[in-house]
Point group: C2
Chain length 496, copies 2
Amino acid sequence: MNKYSDYLDYCKKIHDINMSIAVLNWDLETKMPKNGHKFRAQQISTLRKVSHELSTNKSYGDLLNKLKNNNALDFDQSRNIDVSLKKYNKTLKYDANFIEKESNLISEAFVKWRLAKEKNDFSIFEKSLEQLIQLRIKECEILGYKNHPYDALLDQYEPDLTTNEVDKIFQEIKDFLIPFIKKISNAKEIDDSFFYQYYNQKKQWDFGIDLLKGMDYDFNSGRQDLSAHPFSTHFSNEDARVTTRIDENNLSEMIWSCIHEGGHALYEQGLLSKNYGLPLGESISLGIHESQSRLWENNVGRSIEYWKYNYNKLKKYFEKQLINVSVNDFYKACNKVKPSLIRTNADELTYHLHILIRYEIEKGLIESSIKVQDLPEIWNKKYQEYLGITVPSDSMGVLQDIHWSHGSFGYFPTYTIGSLYAAQFFTQALYENEKLYDEISKGKSKNLLKWLREKIHKHGKKYSAQDLCIKVTGEKLNFNFFKKYAINKYTSMYDL
Amino acid sequence: MNKYSDYLDYCKKIHDINMSIAVLNWDLETKMPKNGHKFRAQQISTLRKVSHELSTNKSYGDLLNKLKNNNALDFDQSRNIDVSLKKYNKTLKYDANFIEKESNLISEAFVKWRLAKEKNDFSIFEKSLEQLIQLRIKECEILGYKNHPYDALLDQYEPDLTTNEVDKIFQEIKDFLIPFIKKISNAKEIDDSFFYQYYNQKKQWDFGIDLLKGMDYDFNSGRQDLSAHPFSTHFSNEDARVTTRIDENNLSEMIWSCIHEGGHALYEQGLLSKNYGLPLGESISLGIHESQSRLWENNVGRSIEYWKYNYNKLKKYFEKQLINVSVNDFYKACNKVKPSLIRTNADELTYHLHILIRYEIEKGLIESSIKVQDLPEIWNKKYQEYLGITVPSDSMGVLQDIHWSHGSFGYFPTYTIGSLYAAQFFTQALYENEKLYDEISKGKSKNLLKWLREKIHKHGKKYSAQDLCIKVTGEKLNFNFFKKYAINKYTSMYDL
């Protein structure tokens, strides 16, 4: 292998295998009969090994290093090589021992976490979690970092973002959100009780499909299914799927998962076929991905304009349940802010305090300033301090999220980063096309999607998240866009 | 690699990849959005290449050859090595050129065939078919054979079966079936018109699930979905799936596909987990696989005893449609014999004349005694001669089946071989447990399934088809079992 075309072939081959793993996982989550688990796990593990072998092949590395110094490549080609080489060098750092130990630890930790959560007994999970953290601390050393070991973990999900920057962002969030949410808590509570009536599953499903179609999600290049936890996945830009979950006693579950996962899938559908398998055909980072889901979920889906159009449709499905609910009542209920226990059910403001808590804890664990055995106590104290919430049990507290049992540290901050990017991008989109909200109120978001496609989706990893943000909005990630959005929206809604 | 345990690991690795390909294909046929095709084809092709590379790896061959001469292995272990080595040596014979040429020819031929069928113009397909046949003729030389080049093709689907044996079997079929079917054609025609009323899709689906449950198909280790053409597939014995097709104006389509594919899937579910990935964990041959589907479809599903139990259930779904149809009328309609144009819709007697025609033509093409350009004429002549049917168009004649466009030659005979095995196995099962039909009439087929599991399923490829047949029934494949079954059943049904 010595030509750029060899690189293209090789890179696509690895990607084909990774996308096959994604198909196997999609099936596992949505369709697989329950006895299929054992051999499916083995099949996925085999494909992962094949992918890893190809990804760390020495001739591939030689080719990348050779092409790195090839001046004949254009900008796009050079960027592909740069990103692939960075990934290659990173992957090389892990020896087989590490990978195996990690895989075993995670399998065990997941089982322990599930049991601990079920039994409401943190001690069951404690040892596994401790081992996982030691492994991640070791990983930070393997990968290397400039200032803080947590940088190395962040970089896996949000390349180039540093702990230092995240610290600053969360300080701003803390300074603004904690008093702002307190102010809201003192205002008159919004009534959202109508969400918790009986809503027929089939009708909810149909309405969810309407919402996806309304976002111009392309069902010829995707589909929606049910799963225990909503997710989006993709096997190419021409097959990007979503799942949802329907609770017949809670309408909101389905609505927000459809719009949120739909936003993720629109990003994948907006990548270019010609870049399939290459960095330029891949999303930039988890934060940018989340910006797309959050933009649709919050900036679009939680706007009065969105419901001006969609609420009539919803009422046709559920006339009886919504008979006394005006579109304004509905809009307000969609935006009710109230500190609560569970991150995944949180509103768009308190959500970031949930993330802040996880971030502070993760950083503490990785720099060894927090001990695993103290986690429940620390968790509960922070919930009391930041959210004013008393955590009744570890199952609903420190054990609520799956992430740590999967060995994912450095992942949580991308949720918040995504919301901030969303606010910043959407402000820019509105600035460039002031009719956007007007169009949304008529059920048309084609121009918004076009803007996102042009400015963000089609580039894949052509730019770093930071560079893209500057290119699109003229400045780097700035908390003020989210702050302004929140103040505007909630001051009038809550009459603050 | 030098130990038997190395062989186990390696073999399972290849199998994991092949099973992943099966998942990708299942998704493609049942769930994939229409734009997903292009990249899915590429993903499957990549996995196939990885599988082929592993399967032809020299160290794997060395290991197999070393273990072949290892006296410390027990019977099962030796059999695994023998089968794997035979497969390895065969795979080695194909060079990359052949594989690529084959793959290109098949892609092209499929497109041409589809167009030819659509336009009712054989000439569109002619050249591609000619090239495919030349490739298969070459393949016979590459693979080698004892007496007839067609042996090499047969061996791929039905190992060890020879053209000479198939000739003999079809001669017996011809001698018996042609006059027997003529006799039936002169008898009073059975009325099956009630099959062709409106039957609601959802109710048909539910009844199909009932039928599968009634066969003890394990839905914890499988599932049913809809697809354009019914098929069964498997990713392990713990995930063996079926699909069906529902025509709201023809009830029989769904019934026979459910029972037929269910029979295939019961075989896969009956293989042993401990042999996953090894020859002993795989079905013997297409013929033995077909014996399982045909046994359930014909020997069980087309018996009066089966409907004594299931017809009441069916009537609950479709009371209006079946109000004037007795269980005996229904049973007879399920068994109506009438020469027809299309193989896949044929009854269980004329079916074998459809296969006979294809077999004679394939043999002629491979030994170059038949020219491709003469195919439509030869096809139509044989249909007239054997079935008394005038073929109105090539679309409904020589172009009706997909097999040749896929490059499959030597496949068709296994359909007939399967039915003969089915009759022979079922006769033996009845001989060993005379209450089987009595149990079936009470909706219980557990003892039949137990017998099939014990005698056939659990062994995988432990024995060759021929040896298994002798082991189970005391003699080798013998047409007389099918003949006796047919005479018994149809003589009384048609009052011959």
